[in-house]
């Protein structure tokens, strides 16, 4: 157990004591105690920066399940450290924000911080685990803790709905990820990511390559809210705003991004370019779809949710396009710019989206609504919030001098270079990438402006607001101010990140290239990217000003055709479908179940007999047939037919007795005196019991004839036929001589008896007898219990 392991597990340990702190120290907001942990962790992770910059990864391993190759191997490299810093850094800010956001007296703070800490630890585990099974364990932990956090206000119906939806979708993805992990294990024999990266050539030539890749991508896409799995994210906005800011903008939704980045060295080498196309294609479409849908939202957090979806798509598409670099070798490092852009935008998005969510929370907190149709004119009332929102939205829209501008510029560069790729048909349809990227950016610009000006511009509609608006308290503003300052700092001095954080992360994603130097510059001459950005701004402004005229196109897409609608219809119809399925075949009639059992009996046995050519008839070991046997056989047949055909039940009982006595005569004939004796007595007793039942039948019971049913007849004939055929075949194929000679030889000499049947019963195989008398005892006591214990009648009386 190293310090690193303790650091990863510390949130879980701390979560244990949170409820005690909450109980003991009610007068202090629990968040203050919790705040210490992410700050300490953040500082702890900062100290790895120099080491990672030198390219030295830190690997610490603790054995967990060594027999299954599962060890808790913690590994710090560029990518892991970047995420760890994001998680702990934004985690600290979110905890600080939540202290002012959540009321000490009205909220269940212990539950909130326990869930939040579980989530924090799980995220750290995901990004710092080298063993895929451990990663998967933490991955599901994030799903669960996110489920708890979304459903934090569990008395609200929408919260529960959103929590369930996100749970179903992310766990679906998680299980698919597990499938991919297992396939990878089958291919390489290891769960360790480092060792898999070393075995890339085995993986890409393996027939399981494509299934494993698709399974893992399903996991990553569902977690990162890519198309078509993004639908859970807008509904997850029912969570408290600190949670939305943390989980659904900065960290959890980036777990999928992390996974894709982590898996790039394993999957990107494939000569067919599936990875490039899938990741890049899904990402770019999600970018477009998310930004397109964000415009029609009226809820602040709704806009932000769709904007998160779209920005995640942007990062995803950059990762996909960046993976194309591996197919070009060292002479064409141009595509690495896409990966650099992905990492850079990842950081930028965490900063501006976090601050925007916090501002949305502040507006909600201070005005009582998040509906942009009721908001407006808050610019002068809430100047600090406005400034933060201004910085955030302009960065999101990609306007200089903020950091969003830089990453968007690099995004365009990456996308434009796709066209130059002359592999995987990128030269023919690759032009779609920059086109869609540009359209998506225009929409991004438009919704950013909507977000800012509909909230802060225009007139205050005081009569529509539940509360009198005023500026937020100081404490609530600290975190968004810090994040907004980072937006500005990274915007002006992007290169403070490039050497320390971005370069090691890109080296982790693409270990095959030496990243010499990354220089993010504001100005790179009159390049197409610049004209694209200018175009985005001009068209964006025009579109924003004419918003009322063209938003009608959203009405062209009826609500019934959305993916949400599909989910909402699919889930209940699954339920009704399975209900119907159960109701149609589980009728509650024993007759139906017997019909199923016997039909399957016939089907399976006859199919086996047929497919194995098992029928076999041999007359050599058959005995001669005597007269008595024929007579008795006829008697049994007559008795059986009487049972089936008789009109009255009494006749059936008597006929059954006759068959039983005939069977005991068969025992006599076949020289089994013990059996004959027992059969006689038992048959007598059971006939007596039958008669007893008959006597107590209700008076109005019809004495009608058994109704004839063709299915019953067919099934019974089938069963009889199959059993007969099996009996004949098995008798005709005797593979071994009987072991009965042993009993014949030893009945007297060690066992000390002469009646072989009895000796077998009490001596050779007395065990069976012991439990048969136990069965008898249970039956006797059961009859006694059934008759004597009549609780229902006792209650009545």
């Amino acid at each position: 157990m190293s310090v690193l392991h303790i650091a990863i597990l510390s949130p879980f340990l701390f979560a244990i004591i949170v409820p005690y702190i909450y109980k003991r120290l009610r007068q202090i907001h629990t968040g203050w105690f919790v705040l210490l942990l992410p700050i300490i962790l953040f500082i702890y992770f900062l100290q790895f920066l120099p080491q990672v910059k030198e390219g030295e990864g830190i690997v610490q391993s603790v054995s967990w399940i060594p027999s299954l190759n599962v060890d808790f191997t913690a590994k710090i490299d560029g990518l892991g450290l970047l995420f760890a810093l994001l998680i702990t850094g934004i985690g600290s800010l979110v905890v600080l924000y939540s202290i002012y956001y959540l009321s000490k007296d009205q909220e269940q703070l212990n539950a909130f911080y326990v869930y939040l800490l579980l989530f924090l630890g799980a995220m750290l585990g995901v990004v710092l685990s080298d063993n895929l099974i451990v990663l998967y364990t933490f991955w599901e932990f994030t799903s669960f803790s996110s489920f708890f956090l979304i459903g934090y206000w569990h008395h609200r119906e929408r919260s529960r709905y959103g929590a369930q939806k996100s749970m179903l979708i992310t766990v679906f993805g998680g299980l698919s990820l597990l499938g991919g992990i297992i396939l990878l294990y089958i291919m390489t024999g290891t769960f360790s990511i480092q060792e898999m990266v070393a075995n890339t050539s085995t993986i890409i030539n393996h027939p399981l390559f494509l299934p494993a890749m698709i399974f893992i991508l399903l996991g990553a896409f569902s977690k990162s809210a890519q198309f078509p799995f993004y639908i859970w994210l807008p509904d997850a906005m029912e969570a408290p705003t600190p949670v939305s800011a943390y989980l659904h903008s900065a960290t959890m939704v980036k777990a999928g991004i992390y996974l894709v980045a982590r898996m790039t060295p394993i999957f990107a080498y494939d000569a067919n370019g599936y990875w490039v196309w899938l990741v890049g294609g899904v990402g770019i479409f999600t970018l477009f779809w998310g930004s397109f849908n964000a415009i029609k939202q009226t809820d602040l957090k709704g806009i932000l949710a769709y904007s998160t979806v779209s920005q995640l798509g942007l990062i995803m598409s950059l990762l996909g396009v960046g993976a194309g670099a591996v197919h070009f070798g060292n002479d064409n490092q141009l595509f690495i710019v896409a990966t650099i852009a992905a990492v850079f935008h990842l950081i930028n998005h965490a900063t501006f989206k976090g601050s925007l969510f916090m501002v949305a929370g502040i507006i909600d907190h201070e005005t009582g609504t998040r509906d942009i149709r009721r908001l407006g004119g808050l610019m002068t009332i809430m100047p600090v919030s406005f400034t933060i929102a201004f910085i955030g939205t302009f960065s999101m829209a990609g306007i200089p001098p903020f950091n969003g501008f830089l990453s968007k510029e690099m995004f365009f560069t990456g996308m434009l270079r796709v066209v130059k790729m002359d592999i995987f048909r990128f030269d023919s349809i690759g032009f779609l990438f920059p086109v869609i990227a540009w359209i998506g950016s225009v929409f991004t610009f438009v919704y950013s402006m909507i977000l800012l000006w509909k909230t802060f511009g225009g007139q205050v509609q005081r009569e529509k607001l539940p509360k009198t608006p005023h500026e937020a308290p100081f404490g609530m503003l600290i975190s968004p101010v810090i994040l907004a300052s980072l937006v500005v700092i990274f915007g002006f001095f992007p290169n403070i990140l490039s050497d320390r954080i971005i370069a090691p992360a890109v080296e982790t994603i693409m270990p095959m290239f030496a990243i010499d130097e990354i220089h993010i510059s504001h100005w790179h001459g009159f390049q197409p990217e610049l004209y694209m950005t200018i175009g985005v701004i001009i068209i964006g402004i025009l579109l924003y000003l004419t918003l009322g005229k063209w938003t009608r196109i959203y009405q062209l897409f009826p609500n019934k055709l959305t993916l949400n609608q599909l989910y909402d219809v699919l889930l209940p119809s699954l339920e009704t479908g399975s209900n119907m399925f159960i109701r149609t075949h589980m009728t509650g009639y024993i007759r139906t179940y017997l019909a199923y059992i016997f039909t399957f009996f016939i089907a399976i046995l006859s199919f086996t007999m047929w497919s194995k050519h098992a029928f076999h008839f041999e007359s050599t070991n058959l005995a001669d047939i005597g007269l008595y046997e024929v007579l008795l056989f006829l008697a049994v047949i007559i008795g059986t037919v009487t049972i089936l055909a008789s009109k009255s039940r009494l006749t059936s009982i008597i006929a059954l007795g006759a068959v039983g006595y005939a069977v005991s005569l068969f025992f006599v004939l076949f020289r089994a005196p013990d059996l004959a004796l027992t059969q006689l007595v038992i048959e007598t007793i059971s006939v007596a019991l039958f008669l007893l039942c008959f006597y107590f039948l209700p008076r109005n019971f019809h004495l009608e004839k058994t109704r004839f049913k063709l299915t019953n007849a067919l099934i019974s004939v089938g069963v009889g036929l199959v059993v007969t055929l099996i009996a004949i075949s098995s008798y005709s194929t005797k593979l071994f001589p009987s072991i009965s000679q042993y009993y014949v030889d030893h009945t007297y000499d060690p066992a000390g008896g002469e009646n072989m049947v009895n000796v077998i019963l009490v001596d050779f195989r007395g065990f069976d007898t012991l439990f048969e008398i136990s069965v008898l005892a249970i039956a006797g006591l059961g009859v006694y219990g059934l008759i004597k214990l009549r609780l229902a009648r006792r209650k009545e009386g």
Partner: protein, 140 residues
Amino acid sequence: MRSGDLILQTMSKVVFFIIILFSIHLFFEGHYRPGGGFVGGLMTSGAIILLLLAYDIKTVKKIIPFDFKWLIAVGLFISVVTAGGSLLFNVPFFTHVHDYFNIPLLGKTSLHTAALFDLGVFFVVVGVTLTIIQTIGESE
């Protein structure tokens, strides 16, 4: 309800002992000729059922003044102890022993632990049959 059939009652007094003797015979014969605990037990309960038919439950309870359910327990106990007793002598579960002994009055007799086990079977069978018959007979 007291049955008043004199012939049946008188006859059953005689037949009862014959059946009992036959059942005891079946039981002891078991190891050498057809018979054994199971059939013997059934026969004994048959004899008691005859008494039940000729008289009534109250009378039979007076004649045989114990609960048949105890018989089940005693029978199971005897069987398990017989089977498990072999463990005390460091041989596997269910190892029987037998030998010839000179017993006064009976002379040279074969004694076999299997007979003890069979006795357990006998008791269980008698107990179960009579419990069932009696319970059903008593219920309204």
